[in-house]
Symmetry: none
Subunit: 209 residues, 4 copies
Amino acid sequence: MPLKKMKRNAAASRESILKAALKEFSTVGYAGARVDNIAQAAGISKPLIYTYFGDKDAVYAAALREAYVQIRESEKQLNFENLESVEAIRSLVAFTLEHFRNNPWFIIMLNTENLRGGEAIRKIHDVEHIQSHLVRKLGEILAKGEKEGKFRAGIDPVELYVFIASVCYFPVSNVHTLRAVFAISLDDAWLDSHGKRAAEFVVRYLRPL
Amino acid sequence: MPLKKMKRNAAASRESILKAALKEFSTVGYAGARVDNIAQAAGISKPLIYTYFGDKDAVYAAALREAYVQIRESEKQLNFENLESVEAIRSLVAFTLEHFRNNPWFIIMLNTENLRGGEAIRKIHDVEHIQSHLVRKLGEILAKGEKEGKFRAGIDPVELYVFIASVCYFPVSNVHTLRAVFAISLDDAWLDSHGKRAAEFVVRYLRPL
Amino acid sequence: MPLKKMKRNAAASRESILKAALKEFSTVGYAGARVDNIAQAAGISKPLIYTYFGDKDAVYAAALREAYVQIRESEKQLNFENLESVEAIRSLVAFTLEHFRNNPWFIIMLNTENLRGGEAIRKIHDVEHIQSHLVRKLGEILAKGEKEGKFRAGIDPVELYVFIASVCYFPVSNVHTLRAVFAISLDDAWLDSHGKRAAEFVVRYLRPL
Amino acid sequence: MPLKKMKRNAAASRESILKAALKEFSTVGYAGARVDNIAQAAGISKPLIYTYFGDKDAVYAAALREAYVQIRESEKQLNFENLESVEAIRSLVAFTLEHFRNNPWFIIMLNTENLRGGEAIRKIHDVEHIQSHLVRKLGEILAKGEKEGKFRAGIDPVELYVFIASVCYFPVSNVHTLRAVFAISLDDAWLDSHGKRAAEFVVRYLRPL
DNA sequence: AATGAATGAGGGTTCATTCAT
DNA sequence: TATGAATGAACCCTCATTCAT
């Protein structure tokens, strides 16, 4: 009975800890996270966390991996099969921005891990495999567009992805400081129009000549 | 003897606390920062921090403000007076990237503050004034380029700045996670070439038609 | 082995904290009390105090309540069933004085709480119930004596209790200042004779005419 | 120019410290008092307190003495010259109650000193002299009343004073705990009527037969 | 006579972690 | 498998006191 929710079930406990941990770390960062909060949110006792994971660091590492797994899952929704190359790029940019807007917790996990110097992610050995999906798709689009003469040649998919991610990540990640520093509202409407500009930004970069 | 470290000098003590605090917060974030470390690095006793600032939160707020002040100072080096519009833009992009590469502590301060929801920066009332320099310069370049027919019309300087900042911020801020996830080295050479691509990116965005 | 000090016994730990706290607060007052001392006297670690009570204030409130509970317990020894009215009053006065002499810690708790403006006791909702025993007894004695023509009518038991408590409380509570200010020894013998005078004091007040 | 208020005046500084100290100690007790608060209230710097008094203990001792001095001053208002003996007693009781009601800070000083075991007052060598006024007056009234046949013989003035002080001190000192424990309002009106009962109490105690 | 500058020692409280069952 | 009980180490902060002028 694999779907039945039961107590005294190791797998279920582990999973609920992981979920709670991801939520905690992606809300207040590593140093701000409390093992107590995780236990309470997971509905289990604190020692169980140590039984399953060892220490706070290990819980964090597992939560970071879980973050990537969850993000990969939601990226799977992406589908360009029937789109023309330029439209596919525009769609990818829009999707990426929406993605960050809908999953700000992932941004916090990334910032947290970078604050820690990437110590944890370096030890996750299959992380490349987990995240390669999007870049592969991007490579296909680039190849197709190039063959059709719509895109320049020589564009590296990873490098392009860094640009796309940059223009989508930054205004979401830094929303509070941007709001304070610039005389712009940075509300939903602004981000909507920013998405359109960002797509244009990328498309112009790819256009031949 | 101008190099002698003064004792019983309030202004000097305050300043050394501020410097040490900025270093501490921009290394380990707010929750990870230790008042003890700040005191030790500043070469003063812990209570003095409380005498001058009140509590950890206030020290952090002062350090955040100091971060913006220092960044403004280093941005003042920027000079486009004798540059042609397109070159000015390329130069600005290059400068911005160098800026983030040379001052990673500023990135950490921004991420830290955004993790905290912008609570502190909202209370710094002159922060807009502190940071407006760069956007003003950018506006001048855009106006000049547009008049010369080199740039499209209707580009908002703040919006453009967000793009420039994005493509310069992201690969520096997220260097550790990017390194782990993608099969790229992300070393100095990569960032150098990224800078060139980024300039091209922006220039193509501005180009008419 | 019933005398063995149990470890890992929540109820016992809580109780030992309470006892130690009552002792500490009733020795040096609230501001002078040290959580450290309480922990040490209770034979447990400091954090356990916070686990069980929350903070120093809550420990104090619990100790204050415990003070009233303990006092009520020792007041239960009182028995006037077979005593004639006047003798019952004399006995009550004597008992009350002995009570304060034997439990000076209770006086300190009361003074401490009054110094704090009664903040804690106002939140103890069953305190009236805890303390009503003595006044009820006093009411019965008054009623009986009045019916027998030995006491005046119209004496309120609470008001009378305030008088009895006053003359028993004051010389015990203020023993050190009285000793210094007046040329009297204020030793045990003095307090013994004071008790007799106090009984006379009260009886004369109740006597008809 | 002895009345002129001036800075850099040792005597004036000392006095303002004393006043501020008395206020502080008689508000929050010894352990709760803060040297900082005293300095601020006195309008002088903290080190000056140490220059003039030595340490917190010494400031407290001086404040305690000052408390007695001030109380003696306000007791000097008392005048029974033209009063008949019984009326004089009633008047004295009323005065004593008013005295405690008007000077609750004195009560707190007494409780504070008794909490400390009388350590400070024992070292104030002229305290008996300071406080003897009231008891002497009481002795005169007793002698006169006894001679007139209105009072019993053999009443010791100090012992009588303890009774009077008791019934006036207790309901003022313990107002907060009494309010919580008993179903009485203990407001100004109650204290007014309590004063009348207290006078009756004492008078009946003195009455012959 | 007076004070701004500074601190050692300790205050209450929190937190990751372990023990005992 | 799971947890209630417990704690060492540290954290932020305060306070009486001293230094240097």
